[in-house]
Amino acid sequence: MLLSEVQTDKKVLIKEINADAILKKRLRALGITKHIKAIVLEESLGKQNIKISIGSAEVALRASEAKQIEVEEIK
């Protein structure tokens, strides 16, 4: 599934990032890469933006970016 579809408070494992090189770099810089766990913490109205926790940091993303991140729900 895609990160944009995950419900709040669910924990996921990042499987694949389907973004262009620039965005991929940016995501990695903030700790968002393959094999990393993340939790979706908050979403804005209409799910336009989400806030996830990644490692010990928190990162905000737009849905259009979250759509480019493939994840798998974990316990």
Partner: protein, 700 residues
Amino acid sequence: MKKIVVALVGQPNVGKSHLLNSISGANLKVGNFAGVTVEKAEATLLRDGYKIDIIDLPGSYSLDDFAKDEKVTKEFLIEGEYDIILNVLDSTNLERNLSLTSELLELDKRMVVALNMDDEAIKEGVFIDEKELSELLGVDCIKTSSLKKTNLDVMVDMIIHTVKEPKKAPKFYYSDAIEDRVEELVSFMKSRNFKLTNHSNRSVAIGLLKQDRTIYKMIHEEPIYAELLPLLNNTLEKLHIQFKNRDSNEIFADERDAFARGACLEVIKNNKKNITSVTQKIDSIMINKYLGIPIFLFLMWGLFQLTFTLGQVPMDYIEAFFKFLGDTAGEFITNKPAKSLIVDGIIAGVGTVLLFLPNIMILFLGIALLETTGYMARVAFVLDGFFHKFGLHGKSFIPLVTGFGCSIPAYMAARTLKSERDRLLTMFIIGFMSCGARLPVYVLFAGAFFTPESAGNVLFAIYVSGAFLGLIAAKVLRLTVFRGDDEPFVMEMPKYRLPSVKLIWFTIYSKSIMYLKKAGTFIFMASIFIWFISSYPKNIQIEDAYTNKIETALEADKNIISNEMKKKLMENTYLGFAGKAIEPIFKPLGFDWRMSVATLSGLAAKEVIVSTLGVLYSIGSEIKEEDDALKNIISREIPFASAIAFIVFVMVYLPCIAATAVFTKEAGGKKYTVYLVLFTFITAWTLAFIAYHSLLLLGY
């Protein structure tokens, strides 16, 4: 004395600037969001016979040039001259921070690592074995806290020590598959006796393999390039095949991340997984999908209410003080022109500006709280969806908010935006966010034309509608000039932090001092200037003619005639002539010539608008009545519709000259300045025209 130059490097918001302030007593800007420092800054300290220059650089997540501020850092690291890198890390987020550290190690420079925010790490139960980390990295590591000032002296000693000692070889290596390729290039360079000053061959080789633009540019200019190129292509090809990945940068980054992960596993002991953190709890309310925007609006509204209610108390005193000063001066000075200069020129001009100091302080309190608590990034998050509809990036919020203080740092803050187009677009609409210097105009007019109870709401409405106009302007520009795709929005959200009272106080204090200084120098001169050109040349004939008239007039008419005389006199001064000349431009907006002059003089600095109004309405005001505060004079002499049009015009028109100069520099082209002048002026005029005539139609 020996000199040591230290490059202060680290990811954003790890406390670099704070650290430098703590060790050197500097007052660099500190704030709790990524991208506070956007330009190199320097501080110096003396220790053990060394003069240590520390260069604070913009925070950077990695050395891939991304946004304009991060480019500053990379450029300095690659091309600048420095003796040692002080790499600052956030101990509570070690893994991600170590990715940058391993990238810095590639540069093959002397380095010291500061594990900052140790106080928070202790609170969160994170224990880092810094000895082991030093072993792993091959550079000295030390736990510090810029807040609690722990270990700072030891850290400085460590820097001196590391510079004195011969440089140690780095301990961070890539896998053999990469190192072999690096070695191929290094041995080739060695065989040609090639060596770039300030760069080891190893770091050049890695840069080439990562296809790093800066390194390519440097090598491109060297004679060796022609010979190196075939070898490089061959090596790259091998690398890509071996890793089944054509993105060299990613190959390297993967390995660095793996190294960082491994290092963390080894050095972090006893990491109690924190349950829901305080930040998460606060955020569940502050950026709640339903409450987020209302909370933000409420806080803003509260701030403007405060500006009025709380600000009014000291304002009354300041007003009384200057009235007293004016009256006393008026009594003691017998020379008529001198009296007029002091009372109508200096006291009226400077006094009017100083009157608004309390409002300015409250405004900056609000901005300081926003910047230091961590709420800034939240608002960017909450507003992004909305901003996006207008073609703006959520991150634009940061420079825009800075713009409520002053446009100059706001233009600089726009550097954190990655895309050049977003950056320019944001810069074009920063002017719509009314800067602190315009606040006096609004406070004056809101106070003059609205009841005290609603004045705060009016102020809030002015700011919100200014921001709204800015958004609409952004949309228009996006559809016409700055067309293009959306930029991604990925932003770190810092932890909420309690701001130190000292820091907040310092911000307000330094802004107040700046304001006072401006009032004492620039506004002072401007007031004298305006007074002079509005009092001279003296026109004896008019004066004589009216004096006769007044003497023969009925008692009841005396006031009216005397007012008429003042008006006539003023119209025949230099300023009067100039005002008349520009009046046609502003007449359709309902401005009298004094308002027209005030808008123009406001180009020098926005505070000059009120000082000019102060001088002009003081000289030309009607015979002294009981209450002659500027506010009351204005509400008597300016029609409501004109006043609103004036506010609208001031809200939108060009930022002051100093800000425009910075705009030109940051935008990187004079043509943008021409666009800005035309764009803001035409918009301001049109909107003021609409406002004026709609109000007239409505019967005001």
